[in-house]
């Protein structure tokens, strides 16, 4: 009997591939938000991001052999999402006939919920703005880390060495610190 609290990703996947839609429901609940945030960093337009999220989850069924073979399903989902995002960028560049910088169309910093004063409103706003200003390469890592991936898992998504991930993470923290001017 699968459960959102105790079943592993692989158990939920097997359940889904055996025809149980609850396996999908639980995987979807687990990864919809972090995947969507990751995708939106590439493609801020809501409709486009929804389409890409749609294709990411359907890959579980349409490429079931690869999903089954993945050593880490969470990282595999992010790999699929990234691959789809990059393909969409290429298609758009070809259509536009010019090199577009995805970072130039990044989403504005998210508005804070007024009822939530956890970190200090100004600090939180500054942090969100600094995150939104990260270049795409670092923003990807941010979303992967916040999405709960380990460094090893993060390295597998853009297929870079572990040392590169560590180096970029240090660079990101340094950049965020500078932007926040030590407010944190």
């Amino acid at each position: 009997m699968i459960s959102g609290a105790t079943s592993s990703d692989e158990e939920l996947l097997e359940s889904l591939l055996d025809g149980d839609v609850r396996g999908f429901d639980l995987l979807h609940a687990r990864y919809e938000r972090p995947l969507f945030a990751f995708i939106r960093r590439h493609h801020p337009q809501q409709q486009e991001a929804e389409d890409l999220l749609h294709e990411t989850f359907l890959a579980l069924l349409r490429d079931r052999a690869a999903a089954r073979a993945a050593t880490n399903l969470k990282a595999w989902l992010f790999q699929v999402a990234r691959h789809l995002c990059l393909n969409r960028h290429r298609t758009q560049r070809r259509a536009a006939g010019a090199l577009s910088d995805p970072a130039a169309s990044r989403a504005p910093a998210a508005e804070l919920h007024p009822e939530r004063i956890l970190l200090g409103t100004e600090r939180q706003r500054a942090l969100r703005a600094a995150i939104a200003n990260l270049p795409l390469e670092l923003a990807e890592l941010w979303h992967l880390r916040i999405g709960g991936l380990s460094y090893e898992e993060m390295a597998s998504v853009p297929a870079v060495p572990l040392g590169t991930v560590k180096s970029r993470m240090h660079g990101m923290v340094h950049r965020l610190r500078e932007e926040l001017l030590n407010d944190l």
Binding site: V21, R33, R128, V173
Partner: protein, 129 residues
Amino acid sequence: MTCENMPPELLAFHLGAIDPASRGEVESHLLVCPACLRSYLALKRSLEEDDGTPAPSAAARERLRRAVVEELAVTRSTRWRWWERPLAFGLAATAALVALSAVRTVSSGPGAAPRTLGQPAAERVEHRG
């Protein structure tokens, strides 16, 4: 590590982008300083909870779930039932054996030339002649 120089370290600590020596200092300080621990927990909660990014729309969620259900239905209708695969293989094997047997029967019937091991074809013809 003091309360004054903790704040810049908290983000790096949370992301794991901190050298081992500094991590040890932060951990030791958090164990003894409730104020810094509260700051760290507030940061962690802030980053890991809703960041205000819009969620997918209800229509998009519905469309995805419908697509998943349809994919599962297609898979179910084309998937072997538990008894179909062994039966299919059994029938195929039987058909192959029957075909092989028929070929052997035809090739060893009255019209077929006798087979002599080790004898080249030309000698066989001479013998018959």
